[in-house]
């Protein structure tokens, strides 16, 4: 090692050996061509870079900026207030309430999403091999491509306490009817059901893709090895699906913490009163929207968004740490 160092040509101050500099001298024409090539590359990247900058990065940076200021959409005066917005936040019981509501929403939604979509995917995989299996796949995916705002109106009807489908089903099963969107206990579960119905298709497709990557031979070998169906699933399929599951969990977490549209439309919408009854469905995304656009406290809403961002970031990092031990990448 030391020998090779002593034999190396002397380093110049800029870290390039004189020898290297001499051998890498490039003629102008070649340099011009290189520059042209990178121009073309940047040109190709430009649309994506511009769109992301204008619609993602600039708003995100601006959001951080205004969370430290007193800023109004119509007022021209911008005053630096330091951490005052965050201090105000911490004094708001509704803010903590919204965090708890969102956490509840997330804690229920993640397992429900993972197990329901995996279950449907497992059934569908069998169906796909049958004739017209594709129809079932499309049917499951269809809710995901319908606009939330429109379907949420239908769900409001389904959850109508008097003549809604939900209570009709409960009554026909001899179960007590529920108040659903009118009840502080059942409004959030009603919203969850809508959210689940809407997003499930996407996760089913992701799981189907994951399952397609589990070779059939592995299951056949396991079968010959004498493993039961349950054992094949728990010891072969589930471990091999872990990257997919991890992806779905991350996606479901982010979507849960950002849940907004179906809550907004189902619990009041533009007529006001969204997040009710008695704030029982006020998730933090909804609270941010109301703080900003209903009550005009944009700086405060920005501060909330920043907190929400940090929470999601922390959760994702924790999941990533856990996944290193639980997820098997081939």
């Amino acid at each position: 090692m030391s020998e090779s160092v002593s034999q190396a040509p002397p380093l110049r101050r800029d870290g390039v050996t004189t020898q290297a500099r001499r051998s890498t001298r490039v003629p102008w024409s070649a340099r011009l061509r290189q520059a042209k090539d990178s121009m073309v590359a940047y040109g190709m990247l430009a649309p994506a870079i511009i769109v992301f900058t204008v619609f993602c990065y600039i708003p995100a940076i601006f959001l951080i900026y205004i969370s430290f200021f007193h800023w109004g959409i119509l007022s021209s005066a911008t005053t630096f207030v330091g951490l005052r917005n965050f201090r105000i936040l911490l004094q708001q019981p509704l803010f903590f309430h919204s965090l708890v509501t969102t956490a509840y929403y997330t804690v229920v939604m993640i397992p429900a999403t993972v197990f329901l979509s995996l279950g449907i995917a497992l059934v569908l995989r069998e169906a796909v091999t049958a004739r017209r299996g594709g129809i079932w796949r499309s049917a499951v995916f269809l809710p995901h491509v319908t606009p939330v705002v429109a379907t949420s109106v239908i769900w409001v009807w389904i959850f109508n306490p008097q003549f809604g489908l939900a209570n009709f089903v409960l009554r026909s099963l001899h179960l007590p009817a529920l108040g659903w969107l009118g009840s502080t206990t059942w409004a959030l579960p009603a919203v969850m059901i809508d959210g689940l119905w809407h997003s499930l298709g996407l996760y089913v497709i992701i799981f189907l893709a994951g399952l397609a990557n589990v070779p059939r031979e592995l299951m056949e070998v396991a079968q010959l090895d004498g493993a039961s169906r349950r054992r094949i699933f728990t010891r072969i399929v589930w471990p091999l699906l872990s990257p997919t599951t991890f992806f779905v969990v991350i996606l479901a977490t982010v979507n849960s913490w950002q849940a907004f549209s179906q809550i907004y439309t189902m619990t009041g919408g533009p007529h006001g009163g969204a997040g009710g009854p008695a704030n029982s469905t006020t998730t933090d995304a909804l609270l941010i929207y109301q703080t900003g656009f209903t009550y005009d406290h944009f700086s405060l809403a920005a501060a909330m968004s920043l907190v929400l961002f940090l929470i999601i970031l922390a959760l994702t990092l924790v999941q990533k740490l856990i996944s290193n031990r639980l997820v098997f990448y081939r």
Binding site: P215, E217, E220, Q223, L224, D225, G226, S228, R231
Partner: protein, 407 residues
């Protein structure tokens, strides 16, 4: 160890029949190779024996038990797949032990100590199997950290660690490079000799079949064409399919009308056979299929009527084609279209009559030139006759002696 019997086995997917009435009895400890081109139904048969594919019709007996409706795990079968199908998330030891553990779970309801002894026994068996296959230093590795040959060994080990009654292999060597394939082939032969487990081996590679098999089952389009040991299927192919499929290159086959029928029979203008070879009555105009393997030809002369240095056992100067024919040889004069030098030998691609192709495998130093004519001869006992209509083998008339030739 167990004998396998397939009776009237049939498999169809809708209207498409993949396996069409297969009858086969495999004895205990026998090594049987199912050989055929891809799509001939050999893998489907293997999967039906394993229970991975439902039987449409017919019966599968293993060890004297009807297995048609038994699930795969009840058939006591070890199987090696073409792509190894190792559990990628388990170590080599985990791969070997998975089946043992699964079976232990099944039996369960033993006491704790019984469970522990079972686990110890499993560990011992994994060790023994690993040692047998020389993979005991790899037990803690994952499949992706192994080379192709090592993976193949693990796949073999996983199949034998449970001591199955029957061993099924589906083209196990086709993913290996040529060198490794030869080594693993030997390994499999050695393993079979040691364990003597009834083995059904599927391949489209005839060299694997010829070297490994106690008996070869040649299949085509869902049917068995011939069952026999390597020498039988090679020396006396049951029909034109087997004749063409085995050997590389396969047998020369010509379906031609008899032009002249005397003591020697002439076909295609320049193929002469001793009349005694053909089943009587030999009449002009009758169609007959003749087969001669490329490696059974010997060169007689490089130009018709002009004797050259002869090669092979048939060297004989100045003899006319008719004389040779009467002495019990098939003689053929053909045009040399092109040559392939294969190092150890020379492949001559020629033609005679109305463009009937001939391939002859000659000594690398044979004096043959492109564009010239050569006269080839093959012993009558190595000349095969087939029914021109059905392609089935025709019994030769009393073969050798009568024609004056010995094997």
């Amino acid at each position: 160890m167990a004998a396998i019997r397939l009776q009237g086995l049939l498999k169809s997917y809708g209207p498409e029949v993949v396996v069409n009435g297969v009858d086969l009895a495999i004895e205990e400890g026998e090594f049987v190779v199912l050989l055929g081109p891809s799509g001939c139904g050999k893998t489907t048969i293997l999967r039906m024996i394993a229970g991975l594919e439902k039987v449409t019709e017919g019966e599968i007996w293993i060890g004297g038990k009807l297995m048609n409706s038994e699930p795969p795990d009840r058939r006591n079968i070890g199987m090696v797949f073409q792509n190894y199908a190792l559990y990628p998330h388990m170590t080599v030891a985990g791969n070997l032990g998975f089946g043992l553990a699964a079976r232990r779970r099944d039996r369960s309801s033993h006491g704790r100590t019984a469970g522990r002894t079972a686990r110890l026994e499993e560990r011992r068996r994994i060790q023994d199997t690993a040692k047998l296959l020389e993979i005991d230093h790899l037990l803690s590795r994952r499949p992706k950290e192994l080379s192709g040959g090592q993976r193949q060994r693990v796949a073999l080990g996983r199949a034998i660690v449970r001591k199955p009654a029957v061993f099924l292999m589906d083209e196990p060597l086709s993913n290996l490079d040529a060198n490794l394939r030869d080594r693993m082939r030997l390994e499999i032969a050695r393993l079979h000799q040691k364990l003597r487990i009834t083995t059904v081996y599927v391949t489209h590679d005839q060299s694997e079949a010829l070297t490994l098999a106690d008996r070869i089952v040649v299949m085509h389009e869902g049917r068995i064409h011939q069952v026999g040991d390597a020498a039988t299927v090679y020396d006396t192919p049951a029909d034109t399919f087997v004749a063409r499929f085995l050997g590389s290159p396969g047998m020369n086959l010509w379906t031609l009308p008899i032009e002249e029928a005397g003591d020697t029979v002439i076909l295609g203008g320049s193929l002469r056979l001793p009349a005694a070879l053909l089943p009587p009555p030999v009449k002009a105009g009758e169609m007959v299929t003749i087969g001669i393997r490329p490696e059974h030809f010997a060169i007689v002369s490089t130009r018709a009527g002009d004797p050259a240095t002869a090669h092979g056992g048939h060297a004989d100067h100045g003899e006319s084609a008719d004389d040779r024919c009467l002495a019990g040889e098939a003689v053929l004069s053909c045009h040399v279209d092109f040559l392939e030098h294969m190092g150890s030998h020379l492949l001559v691609h020629g033609s005679f009559g109305d463009g009937n192709p001939v391939i002859a495998r000659l000594d690398a130093k044979a004096p043959v030139q492109r564009g010239g004519r050569i006269e080839l001869a093959a012993s009558a006992v190595r000349t095969h006759l087939f029914d021109a209509a059905t392609g089935d083998r025709l019994a030769r008339r009393a073969a050798g002696q009568q024609v004056g030739v010995l094997t």
